[in-house]
Amino acid sequence: MSEFLQQLINGIAWGSIYALIALGYTMVYGVLRLINFAHGDVYMVGAFAGFYAVKWLGLAQEPTIFGAVAVFLLSMGCCGILGFVIERGAYKPLRKAPRLTALITAIGVSLFLENAGQLIFGADPKFFPQIIAKKDVISSGGIILTNQQVIVLGVSLLLMVSLQLFVLKTKTGKAMRAVSFNREAASLMGISVDRIISITFVLGSALAGAAAILVGLTNPKIEPLMGIMPGIKAFVAAVLGGIGNIPGAMLGGMIMGIAEVMVVGYLSSTYRDAIAFAILILILLFKPSGLLGGFTGEKA
């Protein structure tokens, strides 16, 4: 029993990481209908931004709450700016082009960030300093839960709720939904489509930065290709939940995380990825537009 509870904790903690990255994917997709392949790499840049920020602020030795928040915001800021640059430079010129064209550019940006990362940061893995000291919240009966895991889950829930509120309650959020629904009609209503798309990109990328710092807490290793696999899996999670849907991304991420952990724990760690993807395909066969997906009649 304690083993199962521990695995459940592992799964939820891991799922919240997928959820965090998936949130950014889903934001961008919801508005632009673009699979932002570079999202995982923005997440990588966020991790390195955090890494250098910690060095710069001298936080590696004595972690403080204030310092942690500062690193968090700095990384989000860096990613936000990067997202803005990517959107303006690589995606905006292609707004009227076929969707696959923008996808290839996204792949180009992704490859660029990965390879430039290997040149600039070096290909070897680095340790992400612990900006919040680890404490065990629960450690009895063979079950261990750390404060870092709680923080990751808490922050991702908080981000999801505030994002949802932002999209549903604010004027900008309304504009986002309008652009997502019908871009031409939205622009006729006086919404600056370019501005809204930029805002979405900045927000989505900043979320990647937040995710990077939080992952750095529980899984403190960073390297230039760290974004590829989590990027793919988080994208799968976003699709699973119904891409474009914010609670869906959270749900999808949780399912992916828990499913992976449970497959490893009780079925086979060798076939982990195969079984995880098989589950995904099965779910999609029964719910072709994701668990909470509302988009139908979409064209490839």
């Binding site: 891991w14 070096g122 290909a123 893995p125 290793k221």
Partner: protein, 404 residues
């Protein structure tokens, strides 16, 4: 449209200038080739190997080259992909017409490149491909590292005889033949010594989350966990294992050896052991000189790949020298036989000379490498002893030497 055509012209121009740039003029040098993963998933190993080779190259050239002939190494990237490795080797052998080939780290990419070297009869030395199959490709393929069976055996003996454990668990990297191989041979030896492998879990290279596997292993209550992976993952594995309250010893192979391991693993690495080629406190001058030079050049402590690359390159230089193909008389003969030759390489790069290098390589005996006294056996594998190191307070401590 106008703007577009300008860009196209620019691109064309760039391509043309690259072609011209690539046709550098020929000098009187000895040219070797190296293929490695300088980009892609395992770039960190490829770059590290290259650093070692680069050091050996600088050293030999500073000392006046091999018998007065400067050496150049053409380095080609294979993006960590087997088919790119094959292309890179084809280029080295046919385009650059190298005398010998050095590479690769991963057995999978060495296996893609080795048949090409074998067919063209160009000697190849792999610094760190541990799979037995690699040198079985043919009589022109050599290696300077341990084999999977040997290292698996070393750690099984260590776990059983020195640590006195009887129930072992294994956590291996399923995508890595090195890891799979070590796990297999560890299991065989450990069972033969009367122990039992009670659980086996796996991960994939690049993973950062191992808690699920570790929780499963913990529930089976082993005495020791064998993790035949690379430092890129092992640091995190150790950390997460300790987080989950697993305090038993963790042991592994030479893939662990890197300052990054200790940086990432930190305190979690107390009570861990791994097998390696050398210990940093080895008083042998080769080791101390290498460590000091590496530190001076790169301001870092090397991982296991760098000294293996260094040794592979030095053995290559040594074999060329011993083969006598650069002897004055031999060079003269070569020019006489090939009157068309415009450079040293064109004259001496003949199948006969490469066969002499191959024979010299095969006769390598007690070569004083950083990674031990290297003797090439009849299967073209390096025979050398392994040391077991313990990590204590973030420092490496010598435990014992296990001979083949």
């Amino acid at each position: 449209m106008k703007r577009n055509s300008k860009i196209w012209w620019g691109l064309a121009l760039a391509v043309v200038s690259m072609v011209l740039f690539s046709c550098a003029k020929k000098e009187d040098v000895v040219i070797l080739g190296e293929f490695g993963s300088l980009t892609g998933g395992t770039a960190t190993f490829g770059k590290s190997t290259q650093r070692g080779i680069e050091m050996a190259l600088e050293e030999v050239n500073k000392a006046g080259g091999i018998q007065g002939k400067p050496v150049r190494i053409v380095v080609e990237d294979d993006q960590s992909k087997p088919e790119e490795a094959a292309t890179a080797v084809k280029k080295l052998v046919n385009q650059d017409k190298v005398l010998m080939v050095l590479g690769e780290v991963a057995s999978s990419r060495s296996l893609a490149g080795a048949p090409i070297c074998q067919e063209a009869k160009v000697p190849m030395i792999t610094p760190s491909s541990t799979n037995p199959k690699v040198t079985q490709v043919g009589d022109y393929i050599f290696r300077v590292c341990f084999l999977d069976p040997f290292q698996g055996e070393v750690m099984a003996k260590f776990a059983r005889n020195t640590l006195k454990t009887s129930k072992a668990a294994i956590l291996k990297d399923i995508k890595n033949d090195y890891s799979v191989g070590l796990a297999q041979f560890f299991t065989e030896t450990f069972k033969n010594l009367g122990g039992a492998v009670i659980a086996e879990e796996s991960y994939s290279e690049g993973d950062i989350e191992f808690r699920a596997q570790l929780t499963s292993l913990k529930a089976k209550k082993p005495d020791v966990i064998f993790i035949p992976g690379y430092y890129t993952e092992v640091g995190l594995i150790a950390r997460q294992a300790r987080d989950l309250g697993i305090t038993i010893p963790l042991i592994g192979g030479d893939g662990w050896d890197s300052p990054r391991l200790i940086e990432i693993g930190g305190k979690a690495l107390e009570n861990t052991y791994y097998s390696n080629h050398y210990t940093p406190d080895d008083p042998r001058p080769e080791v101390q000189k290498f460590l000091a030079d590496f530190k001076a050049k790169y301001n870092e402590i090397p991982d296991a790949m760098a000294p293996l690359g260094y040794d592979a390159a030095r053995i290559a230089f040594d074999a060329i020298k011993r083969s006598g193909i650069l002897d004055e008389k031999n060079i003269k003969d070569a020019y006489r036989q090939n009157t068309q030759a415009k450079s040293l390489m064109e004259a001496i790069n003949t199948p006969g000379n490469r066969e002499r290098i191959r024979d010299a390589l095969a006769q390598t005996k007690d070569f004083p490498g950083v990674t031990g006294l290297i003797t090439i056996d009849e299967n073209r594998n390096a025979k050398k002893a392994a040391v077991v190191l313990k990590i204590e307070d973030g420092k490496l401590k010598y435990v014992e030497t296990i001979s083949p």
